[in-house]
Amino acid sequence: MLEAILSLGGVGFCAALALGFAAQKFAVEVDAREAAILEVLPGANCGACGFPGCGGYARAVASGAVAPELCPPGGPETVARIARIIGVAAIAVDPQVAVVICQGDQQRATEKYRYLGISDCRAAQKLADGPKTCPGGCLGLGTCAAICPFGAITMTDQHLAVIDRDKCVGCRKCVEPCPRQVIKMTPRSVSVHVLCNSHDKGALVRRYCQVGCIACQLCKKAAPEAYVIEDFLARVDYRHAVKPTAGVEVAIDKCPTHCIRDDNPPPAPVPDEKPAPQAA
């Protein structure tokens, strides 16, 4: 009995000595501010700042190498707190949110072939530029949803990526992997978007998608300040749309293909009249 107590106790004592020695000898100098910054960061390690994890970003900010407003998930509040820690004036950040500018799911948009293979839009895009006939449409294989660190992107039953604006922190991680660049960053303050990414002419768009922008100009006529039409595609001019006077909403009901949608609250689904496929 005594033997056991002594031997175990001895081992424990030696280990404690070794640990104590190691803690002193190999102690890592941590900038107090770095620790404090790490404390206020969200800890999602999403990489949106461009650094490997929150720790990397905290170190960079503490050393003064980068500005405190590179953390989209943290939002303005985090930026303000970091600014306080490092003693600079907080810069106003414009929080952003990612939007899938496409509504062409399997019901509403045609495909030029049947895809067999891995569920990765980038791989599908390599086969004849992806199954969707529309060159800009969401391929719906879920590459963005798999990448999103915040679970903000879901795939509908009809294979369309949808971003939950309440969960999206604007980290941009989904933007670059999308082979069709169908995810755009938009100011959080505007919730009305033109949900189409096709630059084809209207007649062609109608052939492959029920809910594509046909560049008919009706939105621009209804709210000239809030919309621009470039290269056969309308988009919200976010610089002006933030103004309450811009009247960005008034175009929603004007759009003949229902591709202007207010995301807040999430819109009711597009009325599902099976589109008369236009004679090709």
Binding site: T110, E111, K112, Y113, R114, L116, L127, P131, A280
Partner: protein, 331 residues
């Protein structure tokens, strides 16, 4: 567009192999062992087999339902296979609750908590066997004499050959006498032990089928068996009065069942041939260490589980030498 074809990345041909077929082949290969078990241990063996398979299927279905996953993987045969393997690793006299508990442990703790088929680091049937062996040592080592029901005697208990040896050496420092006829019994399965470990012939018939169907390769089973035979042979040559001969070691203690059916479990063994040889050697070495110097008479289960744990490490350090690696060291 009038025509709409399939587009896919090459290749556009497939061998026709499926996971289900692989599982089914292993199940077929286990049938001789199952049949001999029923022959030697009668209804008790049959009950254990069926109960175990049923328990595994129910556990699998429950897990899939809880995780909200498709029940389709239930039909792939992997749960049935786990159930069979576990049953073959139980004594015939195992009480029903032990069998059911074992099935649940195998599927839930051995497989599904890791993400299901393909993700489990340890052989699920062995996880369950070891859990049961440690938790319920009495029930797990109460061996029924084979053909007991046929002789009209109810549940005669006896020791396994290796257990007998271990006890004898401990008590008398001498090996019990082994008759040449005993080896014939070890071969056919007329000895005490788990359902599947008793008949070497039945296991080897199944193994031959697996080789023919190319489900397993020689690497793991052969190195495993040879390692055990060589190492135990050395000890036997040194002191034949204390150590049993290698033939006894190879034929008993579930070594063949372990080497051909458990160690070769694809999910938990290395993928390269070098890795497989290291794996087989490790299994053999640990088995011998446990059998000769450990507290348990049999060490196959522990050996395989320990090597399962080493599999990722082995895989990491034994990638095949790539074609064209001329005078270049591959990590």
């Amino acid at each position: 567009m009038t025509e709409q074809y399939y587009l896919s990345s090459s290749p556009h041909m497939h061998s026709g192999a499926t996971t289900d077929k692989v599982m089914r082949d292993v199940i077929y290969a286990l049938l001789p062992a199952c049949l001999t078990a029923v022959w030697f241990f009668g209804l008790a063996a049959l009950t254990t087999l069926l109960l175990c398979v049923a328990s595994c299927l129910v556990a699998e279905a429950a897990c899939l339902k809880l995780q909200g996953r498709a029940q389709s993987t239930l039909a792939d045969g992997s749960a049935v296979l786990t159930g069979l393997l576990l049953a073959l690793n139980l004594p015939a006299a195992a009480p029903w609750w032990l069998t059911v508990l074992g099935g649940a442990v195998a599927i839930v703790i051995g497989k599904q908590v890791y993400g299901g088929l393909g993700y489990n680091p340890f052989n699920p049937a062995l996880v369950a066997r070891v859990v049961l062996l440690i938790s319920f040592p009495i029930q797990m080592t109460s061996w029924t004499a084979p053909l007991a029901s046929a002789s009209g005697v109810d549940a005669v208990t006896m020791a396994t050959p290796l257990g007998e040896w271990k006890t004898a050496v401990m008590l008398t420092s001498k090996l019990p006498a082994v008759q040449p006829a005993d080896y014939l019994n070890y071969l056919t399965g007329n000895m005490a032990g788990c359902l599947g470990e008793v008949s070497a012939v039945a296991v080897l018939i199944g193994a031959a089928y697996l080789f023919w169907r190319r489900i397993i390769t020689w690497h793991i089973p052969l190195t495993f068996v040879v390692t055990v035979a060589v190492l135990t042979g050395i000890f036997w040559l040194v002191d034949p009065t204390r150590y049993p001969d290698p033939l006894l070691h190879v034929l008993t203690g579930g070594l063949l069942l372990g080497a051909f059916f458990m160690a070769t479990d694809m999910v938990t063994s290395p993928v390269s041939s070098t890795g497989m040889i290291i794996f087989g050697f490790g299994c053999g070495l640990i088995t011998v260490l446990i059998r000769l110097f450990g507290g348990y008479p049999e060490g196959v289960s522990f050996a395989i589980l320990l090597m399962n744990a080493a599999t990722p490490l082995i895989d990491r350090y034994t990638p095949p030498r790539k074609f064209g690696a001329v005078g270049e060291v591959v990590r």
